[in-house]
Structure formats: C-alpha cells, structure tokens
C-alpha cells in the first residue's frame, strides 16, 4: 500500500525497524522517540466533502455538525492526535465530484475522507478513493454500488443502502393489510433502487403492484400522477420522495383528498425532518427508516440534547449518520493509538465495531455497510413515532462485492 502521507514511516514499520535497531544499531534508537513524538502530535487530517449549497445543503450541515460534535465530546483528539478539518462544499454536483475528491486526496493528503450526501457524487468519490486512498466514511449516500460493486477495504458507510431502505417496506405493508399497492417514485438511481428492493420483498409476501409510476426527478408537479393514482383506486401507495419533493407530494396528496381512501407509505425520507413544512398533511403517513426522532433509548436522548445545545437545531437521521461516522473514525484511531499507518489494524477495528448509536445497535457487514434495525413509523402530531420494528438487524446483500 503506498501511503503518500507526510508520515513516511508508519508505526508498525518503526516497531520492526526499532527491533532491528536495538538488536544491531545503537544509533537508531535515538531516532525512535523522536519519530514517535512527531506521529503523536501531528494533526490528523479529516477531509469533508459535503454539500453546503443547493438542495442538500441542510443535510450536509447536519452531518458535519454532528460529526464534529462527536469529536468534540472526546476533546477533539483522534487516538491522541489533534484534528485538522479540510471542509469542501461538494455542491452535490457529480460533475465536480472527482476533481474535489482528488483535491482532498492528492493536494491535502487527508487521512480520512467523509462524504458525501448525493449518491452519484458518492460513486465518483468512492471510485477515486477506493484502494490506496484514505479511509472513507460515507455518512449518507445510499447507492447500493458503494458497498456493492465499488466496495473496498477502506470504504465504510454509516448510513444505509437503497436496498435497506426499500426492502423492509414490503412485508410491513402486507402486515398492515395492504395488498393492492401503487408504486410511485422519483425516476433516478436512488429512487429506482429503493423501488426495486421494495418489490423484491413485497411480491413474495403476497402483494400486488397495481401500477408502477416513476416520476421525473427532481420535478415536483405531481398533479397529473395523483389523478392517475386516484383513478387506479389501490389500497395504498408506496413512495420514494425526499426534500422539497417529499413536502410537495405529501401536501398535494392530502389536498387531492386521497388520504381517506388510499393509505400513504414511503421510504423514511418522505417525512424525515419535514414536519414543520408538511404540517397536518403528513398526519397518519407511515414511513420506514432506521431512525426516528422519538426512539426511546439513552444514546438517542443524550445525542439529541447535545446536538440541540451545540447547533440550536433538532437532530435528524442525517445528523445521526454523521455522529456515527465520527464514532467510527474514533474507534479506528483509538484502536491504533493515532497511528494512521497501521491501516489494516484500523480497518479491522472499524469493521468489527459495535456502536451504541442513537438509532439503536449498529454493526457492519463484510462489505462495510451498516446492519441495523429498521422501524415502521407513523406521523402523529408532527412527530415520526415508531409503530414497530419492521426488520430486525436489516442487512444488505452487497451485490457485486468481492470483499
């Protein structure tokens, strides 16, 4: 592994060399403490590539703030070394992703890479970083490929894969008694993967897809599709929309008077962090996600309080993913006591980490994708309340990963 960091000699190298030195060359022993001192005091560079402008700006900010909160809780030290952040706005633009990743890797020589939010940016980023690049932690982007075809020892994800987002929805809806379902989603990579995973579990569970309506991404004129939905008269509709589209969809759905006759389900982003904007329209909407604000566990309560205190805003699932990204990096660095050269040991510590996350228990699969519980939630009085656990320890098949 060619580690181009300034830290030319790794700790393991030095241990071996040190042994050789003590065995033979007395002079070498003079070098030992000096190098160790440099290794311990020099800053660890954490490169952050998240969107701070455009549609995903809020997500980027929350992820960064939560991760920094986690570091701050440990005195801003990683394995005994202070941290230096190199923070870049990804603008969620795929066209610039590789260039920016290169900047972090080649110019800034970062030890860790955290990002991004956008799946396509994620693919360009992972493609550049996998293999020899820095240890990379993905705090949101959900494309299956990131821990599938593109998986690599130095790539981790603390969020979810599209598969994990969609798959638990099928049985959950059947269990709720909805068998004739229309599938509506934004017709882009992420939306398609979530929809495909949903179908994969829904059909075997005895459900029928009345019609699949992919709508152009990122457009938000849903009126024509809602009219079509009304005419199809299904039991329920399963959707994938996020951000502005989710707000608009939920409101238009309610305004079209469809709430009484068709039950609205969706991947968690449909209602996540959008309570204020959606208002009453979201009441009763059921979504599936690996987190809920109201989760009743000590880690969550502690985290939400701390996040509110430092940032002044309420934590959401993105913040949790950022917080866990921070935790994962801490685990790795603490395991090797700050020696970034001990790559294999660090990766081992990270992939075997069991984290007591605000979302519940969090482990990692062989492909470095999270394994976590997924919850069925319902909006009650503007809050996403957990109805039940939709899937225990939901894993990802990591299709195409040969790790």
């Amino acid at each position: 592994m060619s580690d181009k960091n300034w830290q030319g000699i790794t700790r393991r190298d030095f241990v071996i060399k040190g042994t050789v030195a003590t065995a033979g060359l007395a002079a070498a022993s003079v070098l030992v403490p000096a190098q160790f001192a440099i290794g311990a005091q020099a800053k660890v560079k954490v490169g952050i590539l998240l969107p701070y402008t455009g549609t995903y700006a809020k997500l980027g900010t929350n992820i960064r703030d939560a991760m920094m909160l986690r570091f701050a809780e440990d005195g801003n030290m990683l394995g005994g070394r202070p941290i230096e952040f190199v923070d870049i706005d990804s603008e969620a633009k795929p066209a610039k992703a590789q260039q920016l990743t290169n900047k972090l890797i080649k110019k800034e020589n970062v030890d860790f890479l955290v990002g991004p939010v956008h799946s396509v940016v994620g693919m360009a980023m992972v493609k550049t970083a996998r293999g020899d690049g820095p240890i990379t932690v993905i705090p949101n982007a959900g494309a299956n490929q990131l821990t599938g075809v593109l998986c690599a020892p130095n790539i981790f994800r603390t969020s979810f894969s599209s598969y994990q987002m969609g798959y638990p929805g099928g049985p959950a809806m059947v269990e709720d008694g909805h068998k004739r379902v229309v599938l509506m989603y934004w017709n882009y990579g992420f939306g398609k993967q979530v929809a495909a995973a949903f179908k994969e579990s829904f059909l075997p569970a005895g459900g029928t897809i009345v019609k699949e309506i992919p709508t152009p991404f990122p457009k938000v004129d849903f009126q024509a599709y809602l009219t079509e939905l009304a005419a199809l008269k299904p039991d329920a509709v399963y959707t994938f929309y996020a951000g502005g589209g989710a707000v608009k969809f939920v409101k238009d759905f309610a305004a079209a008077g469809l709430k009484d006759s068709i039950k609205l389900y969706g991947a968690g982003f449909l209602t996540e962090g959008l309570g204020a904007a959606q208002g009453d329209a979201a009441e009763g909407v059921r979504t599936i996600l690996h987190y809920a604000d109201t989760l009743d566990n000590p880690a969550n309560q502690r985290f939400r309080k701390a996040f509110k205190k430092t940032t002044g805003t309420n934590a959401d699932v993105y913040a949790v993913q950022g917080y866990d990204a921070g935790e994962l990096i801490l685990r790795g660095m603490n395991a090797v006591k700050g020696d970034t050269g001990a790559r294999a040991e660090m990766i081992h510590a990270m992939e075997t980490a069991e984290i007591d996350s605000p979302r519940g228990k969090l482990r990692f699969s062989k492909s470095h994708n999270p394994i976590h519980d997924v919850y069925l939630r319902e909006v009650v009085k503007g809050e996403n309340r957990v109805v039940r656990v939709a899937a225990k320890a939901q894993d990802d098949p990591a299709e195409g990963c040969s790790m």
Partner: protein, 289 residues
Amino acid sequence: MELSFYLVQLLNAVQYGFLLFLVASGLTLLFGIMGIINLAHGSFYMLGSYLAYWLTGVTGNLWLGILLGLPITLMVGYLVERFAISFLYKRDHLYQVLLTFALILIFNELQQILWGSDVHSVAIPSLLAGSFQLTENQSYPVYRLFISAACIAIACGMYWVIQKTRLGMTIRAGASNREMVQALGINVNRLFAFVFSLGVALAGFAGMLAAPVDSVYPGMGENVLIISFVVVVIGGTGSIKGAFVGAMLIGLVSTFGKVLVPEMASVMVYALMAVILLWRPQGLFGRAA
C-alpha cells in the same frame, strides 16, 4: 380509463398552464419590449416564494405577505435594472445571457444566506382552504382554482393595459420600434425601468401565489425558468397572446405526456418546441425577424 379521468387531467393541464403563463408573461414582456433575455427570471419567482414564506410568517397572513412582498419585488427589479441590466440594452444578447446567469448565482447564494437551506411551506389562507369533490375519491383544492382565477384576472388586466391604455400603446410601440418611441419624446429609460420592475414583480407574484401549493426550497427558480423560456419561444417573443397559448400548449403536452408516454415526458416539451420552431421560426405569434 374513463372520460372523467381525462377531464380531471384537462383541469390539471389548464391549471398548470395558467401558472406558467403568469411566469412567462413577465418574461415575454422583457423579451419583446426591451429585447432582454433574463435568465434570472426564475430567481425572481423564487424570491417571490421566499418573500411569501417570510412575510406570511411575520404577519401571519398570506394576503398581507403578498401586499408587502410586491413592493419589495418591484424595488429589487428596479435596482437590478438600474445597476446591471440598463448597461446592456445596446449590447449583444450574449452579454445579457451571461449577466443574468451570474445573477442566478448571486440570488441563489443570497437566498441561502437570508433563508437557509430548509424546505418550507406556506399555509393556504383559511378562506380558501377547502376543497370540493371531483370524482368519487379525488377532491380538488379551492386554492388551486383561486390561482387560476387570479391568473385569468391578470391576463385580462394585462390585455386591458396593453390594448387600451396610453401606457400600453407606448409599450406596444416600443416593442415594434424602439427608435420611434424615443422620437416621440418618451423617456425610454424610465419606461424600461418600469417595464423591467413590472416583469420582476409578475414573476415574484407568481412565486407568491404558488408558494402555498408548491413548496419553498432552494433552486426552485430554475425548474420554472427553462420551461418559461420554452413557453415564450413557442408563443413568439413579446406576444402576450403567444405566451398564453404557449403556456396552455405546454400545460397540455406535459400533463398528458406524463400520463400517456411517461418515459418521454420531459423530452416531449422540448420536442414540441423544436417542431414548432421548425414550422414557424419566429414562434406562433411572433413577428418575422
């Protein structure tokens, strides 16, 4: 699908067309009268939406919000015209494209600084919050009908102003022959500043009206911008009538395109534009160059 389905879709199409018209009419005014390509038009639409969100929050009432917001959009329009656009009247379109492109960048950042990056929404005023039953399971919000009504009122108002008033005559004359208007001793600078502000206010007003049914989010202006350009070009630059017909055509094609050929829905609109321009290079109601 039964007939009622298509009727409801027709209603959707017309309603969408009206909203498009409101945005595009401001654009075509600027095009036709001032010869200005204003890429920042979508940004003014976004400004309107954010103003509606902000002022409705402050005053607790959408109507008050619109009342306070309109003068702001007029003022923004006036300032932009005086400090940027007014230098470009005699220059190539190229520079207008570039300058207004830069304005988009600036307005996007300003939006970010002023209002952050959250998605917001604006409550429908209680007076219009109801809905009526359309089919056995679908109802239609009254507010959407109100938007259509408002658009019709504005269309009629614009028609009246342009066809019947002195100001309208000046505007029409200016559109066909700028030198002549100057020769008639009319202060073209003032006329242009006024028309530009009016165009901006129209875009802003459309954004305000749409805020309760659309959500308010970063980058919303650009979704509207390109489609408005398509409307204007189909209709023929400078023609209010053209903008109306173009908006309705786009409303129909995009609504029924979504239902009938979903996989090509986005392409259809642009294909329509290409076909119309092949047939009539100056647009449906544009004067030959």
